[in-house]
Amino acid sequence: MIRQGPELIREGRDVEEAADVCVVGSGCGGASLAAWLAEQGKSVVIVEQGGYYTKDDFDQRELNMLAKIDGGRGLAASDDVSVSLTFGNNVGGASVHYWADSYRTPADRLLEWRDVFGIQGHSEAALAPHFAEIERDLSVHPAADPYANRMNVLVKQGAEALGWHVARVPQARKACRASGHCMQGCSYDAKQSQLVTYIPRALAAGARLFSDARAERFELQGRRVDALSARVLDRATGRPAGPSLRIRARAYVVAAGGYGTPELLLRQGFKDSLRALGENLFVNPCPMAHALFAEDVIQWRNIPAAWGVEEFRLARYDGPHRVFGRPGTGRYLEGGYLFMPNQLQPAMLGAVLPGFGAKHSELMRSLSKLGGTICWIDDVEPGRMRIEGGRRRLEIPLSGGNGERLRDAWRKQAELLFQVGAKQVLFGDAEDTRIERASQIDDAVRRLSIRPGRNVLAAPHPGGGARMGRSAEDSVVDYEHRVHGFDNLFVSDPSVFPSPPSVDPSLSILAFSRVAAAAVAAALP
């Protein structure tokens, strides 16, 4: 059963629901957990802030789809406008606009989480069966050759010529039509987002889903959450517009995403007892490099990333390496990011290309010859979220270790782009830095300013704001995803990760959600 905001507003009556489990959020963390619990016979209510849209609503137009499925209509940014916040705001969450890149959490990162951060119960061996099942559910497979557009082929060729490890990117797709509109939501239900996988399974097993409903307040009784109140939102403006929801459940799971979960918990005033709440935030800031080629690249068709450069996933140091939020004594050498072909439709591409007026439109007239790359930086400097004056504030540091990695990522991207014949490489900064030869790379990258607003960086993979750990002294949830100090409040999304997973996070979130689901089931009295 799905009940949507417009229907609830028309009816105009407050709604009371009771369930075994109330899940806030319907992305990778929430939808999968809801499905698994519902299939075990638990009664589940899902509360989702965004609207419910299906493939029939996806028209592949950027502005229309930003309004339907992207948080803040794609206009949200960190406090200093350094990074654009990319997150889902719809049933299915960010998986509806994601690229479908589906990596298991690398074994080295799981070991680091165990050995450095003390994480228990989430080892490679513990997660392996979950990964296998999730990969079957989502049809995860390596991208085949027909799905590599020209930009992908160039990335593969460039990486091979430079001696960098490049590999097929695992994809969650079925019978992909290769339209290139993954970020606008798949109009063919080929991308295996939560919308077409775990959400239907949860509903088939009896889960009740309320869309356009913003979770606002947990009612507490000692160590237990007694109820959750939510407001129905007007879909046109996202503002409260009508009746309220009140859900009484035996357990509550916050799965509102890397930005949404710490924000919701901070708004409850939990920071006083959970000092780590909103701290240790990471976002995978994404530096891009654009390139003009002599040949047609047509970057906007086919899947975004069939080939990815894995050579630099782990940073290299000349001594002990840095771990997220911790100092290291080694000198940084290179790496600390995944490196992908980029894919943007023209409006978003126009927005991130440098300059304006005639100079900018000259670039856009060369659209078919414009290609580019993007890197997901494995953050080492933690960011922070807080609530100030009722508004969410977000500090995302781009200096220190993050800055070193950003510069190296720009350097490597330019190197590869020239290797495969770029006539000009553009860094997209406010100063409009452009170079035409590989010999100019070092000087150009050294001069790039990383001060607020001067670069275009997306932040698509947030997490860490409700990290997992031993006690409330250093973390927000325990190893069973339960919020410290509560008996029946859990978190199931990337907020619990102690550091970035170093790959696109969707599969990591799903596997962790399996562990969370088991803990929630076990906790039901």
């Binding site: 417009p6 609207g51 029939d56 609503d57 996806f58 028209d59 592949q60 137009r61 950027e62 502005l63 229309n64 309004a67 339907k68 803040g72 209509r73 794609g74 206009l75 949200a76 940014a77 406090d79 200093d80 406008v81 039509r177 339209s179 509109h181 606008q184 109009s187 879909r235 046109a236 403006t237 996202g238 503002r239 906007w300 023209p346 409006a347 978003m348 591409l349 126009g350 927005a351 991130v352 304006f356 007026g357 005639a358 900018h360 439109s361 856009m364 007239r365 659209l367 078919s368 508004r391 969410r392 504030r393 406010a430 100063e431 409009d432 001060r451 607020p452 607003g453 001067r454 275009v456």
Partner: protein, 192 residues
């Protein structure tokens, strides 16, 4: 006061504060010296903010060489729609950013408001904002440019001129916000 305006004050120092005070004074005179053009309606923005948005659209997406102008495509109204439909925090930042642009030219050597400058002077001011040592101007110039350029290249009338073959789904399905905004616009005598 919005986040951008507060950061602006801190970064601009005394001169900037005086500048903003002038801007604030001008707010009290909202509407004076600013007018809507035929068919325009200010819903998400004030009349003054809409005038600044119009000047920016003329500067950033002027068209030419076969490309349609942002003004002819109604991008000013589209920007107003985005501000109307977004959350109040983001919307107030955009509104503040527009006011800062309007009163910034003296800091870049042009003793006039942005809306009353001629086209070459506006281009020069905007270029200097993007390259300014003061972060706040780079931030607001970048944010406003991104919003306006996004609206412009999302317009399918531009696509044939840049070689973009467009979506495979032929029928546009506007979001609820666009439908609701169009209704408001119609009620107030505007055209989209």
């Amino acid at each position: 006061m919005t986040e951008i305006a507060r950061r602006g004050l801190i970064q601009l120092g005394l001169g900037g504060a005086a500048l903003l005070a002038l801007g604030g004074g001008a707010l009290a005179w909202a509407g004076r010296g600013y007018a809507l053009r035929p068919g325009e309606v200010a819903i998400g923005l004030s009349v003054k903010q809409l005038a600044v948005a119009r000047a920016l659209v003329e500067t950033l997406v002027p068209g030419g060489d076969g490309l349609p102008s942002g003004l002819d495509l109604g991008i000013v109204q589209k920007v107003d729609e985005q501000v109307w439909a977004t959350d109040e925090g983001t919307a107030s930042d955009f509104r503040a950013a527009l006011l800062l642009v309007e009163h910034a030219p003296p800091l870049f050597g042009f003793y006039s408001r942005f809306t009353t400058l001629d086209a070459p002077a506006r281009r020069e001011v905007f270029e200097r904002m993007l390259r300014s040592r003061r972060d706040v101007f780079v931030q607001i110039a970048t944010a406003l440019k991104q919003l306006i350029v996004l609206c412009y290249y999302a317009d399918e009338r531009v696509w044939p001129h840049i070689g973009y073959d467009g979506p495979w789904i032929k029928e546009a399905k506007p979001p609820d916000s666009t439908l609701a905004y169009a209704k408001l616009l119609g009620q107030r005598g505007g055209k989209s």
